[in-house]
Amino acid sequence: MTEKVKIKIYSSPDCSYCYVVKDYLSHQGIGFEEIDLYEQPEKRQEMEEISKQKNIPVLIINDEIIIGWKKEKIDEALKKYGTI
């Protein structure tokens, strides 16, 4: 079940909440793909289309979209896909 979970985060190097989300996933021993919007500015539009808004971090756990640092929502999604 766990191997099917795809986790992606849209972030930037200055973004404080991005650090917390990434650190939390690492703390849980969970790997993720990171899209740094400073390095790949062309991905901003994709992020805005997927999340229907502009703020980061945007965390995508399979088809769950979590905007900002929201531990409970992240836990819920991770539990749903059997990751924690």
Binding site: C15, S16, Y17, K54, N55, I67
Partner: protein, 307 residues
């Protein structure tokens, strides 16, 4: 259940300093925090912490954290404290996940950014409105942006936005900016920052995205609109005291009332430090000092209890 001498709540400057002092006194100490961030982690430009003429908050916090973990202390990161109960001796502390016992407690839970709670604020979060400058300022490259709040945080936000935004409006409710003089001078010398004082922001307007901010000029009562693609709300903070309401004395601002000599609260054995207490000046250097004071007072209290 694990029993500690001291439990510290909060991983900001106040809690971390308390942790360093307590562990050096060889108290069996646990530090519980929702995350290592706090307000300091949201600051993008700190210029008033001695020894660091210019540093961003996350870097400073990392240095604090590295110092903390060199000491003998147990840390529970990513846990939120929801309740404190008095026991015959000491206290029981509940987080969403677990329970812990200790002889003394230091509350250093800081504060959270305030919202305006006005029309359409919720609707445009992420669609122009943000509370986190470091996260979202780059989304407004070459656009007009507003900052609400003329204190230090708002003033620094306006200055930081000069990197990206084409034009910046800085709106302040009072008839003058309340930031430090040095920031005021910097802002007044920037032609791309327009200061609007006496502005009571009434609502945010737009369709799918934020387009306008509507405010009333408080003296003339005239309603004005400014066109803007973005807005950073920086109007101060609210203390994180919900979990002690009814248990510890709070003032009218919901800050924990403290004896500033000992940092003790209305509850014997519970101490407080940093922005969550009723001291009027909310600064890192103040939080750090109070963290040390609270830990030293807690040490004396525990020593007396054990004798």
């Amino acid at each position: 259940m694990a029993q500690y001498d001291l439990i510290i709540l909060g991983g900001g400057p106040a809690g971390i300093t308390a942790g360093i002092y307590a562990s050096r006194k060889k108290l069996k100490t646990l530090l519980i925090t929702k995350e290592f961030l706090g307000q300091v982690g949201l600051s993008w430009r700190i210029e008033n912490y001695p020894g660091f003429p210019k540093i961003n908050g996350r870097d400073l916090l990392k240095l604090f954290h590295n110092h903390l973990v060199q000491n003998e202390i147990t840390i529970q990161n990513y846990e939120e404290v929801i309740k404190i109960e008095k026991l015959k001796v000491g206290f029981k502390l509940k987080t969403k996940e677990k329970e812990y016992n200790s002889l003394a407690i230091i509350i250093a839970t800081g504060a959270e950014l305030k919202r305006l709670n006005i029309k359409n604020e919720e609707r445009f979060i992420g669609k122009g409105i943000s509370y986190c400058l470091t996260c979202d300022e780059k989304a407004f490259e070459n656009k007009k942006v507003a900052v609400i709040g003329g204190g230090n945080t708002g003033a620094e936000a306006a200055i930081s936005l000069l990197k990206f935004a084409s034009e910046i409006y800085l709106l302040e409710y009072l008839d003058h900016l309340t930031c430090d003089e040095i920031l005021k001078e910097e802002i007044e010398n920037q032609s791309r920052i327009q200061i609007i004082t006496n502005a009571e922001v009434l609502s945010f307007e737009g369709d799918g995205e934020l387009k306008k901010i509507v405010y009333q000029e408080r003296k003339t009562k005239k309603i004005h609109e400014i066109e803007t693609a973005g807005c950073f709300i920086q109007i101060g903070v609210m203390p994180n005291t919900e979990f002690v309401k009814g248990f510890i004395d709070l003032n009218e601002k919901r800050e924990i009332m403290s004896n500033l000599k000992t940092m003790e609260t209305s509850h014997k054995g519970i101490f407080v430090a940093g922005d969550v207490c009723d001291f009027p000046f909310k600064q890192i250097v103040v939080a750090v000092g109070q963290g040390a004071s609270a830990a030293l007072s807690a040490y004396s209290y525990i020593k007396e209890l054990n004798n």
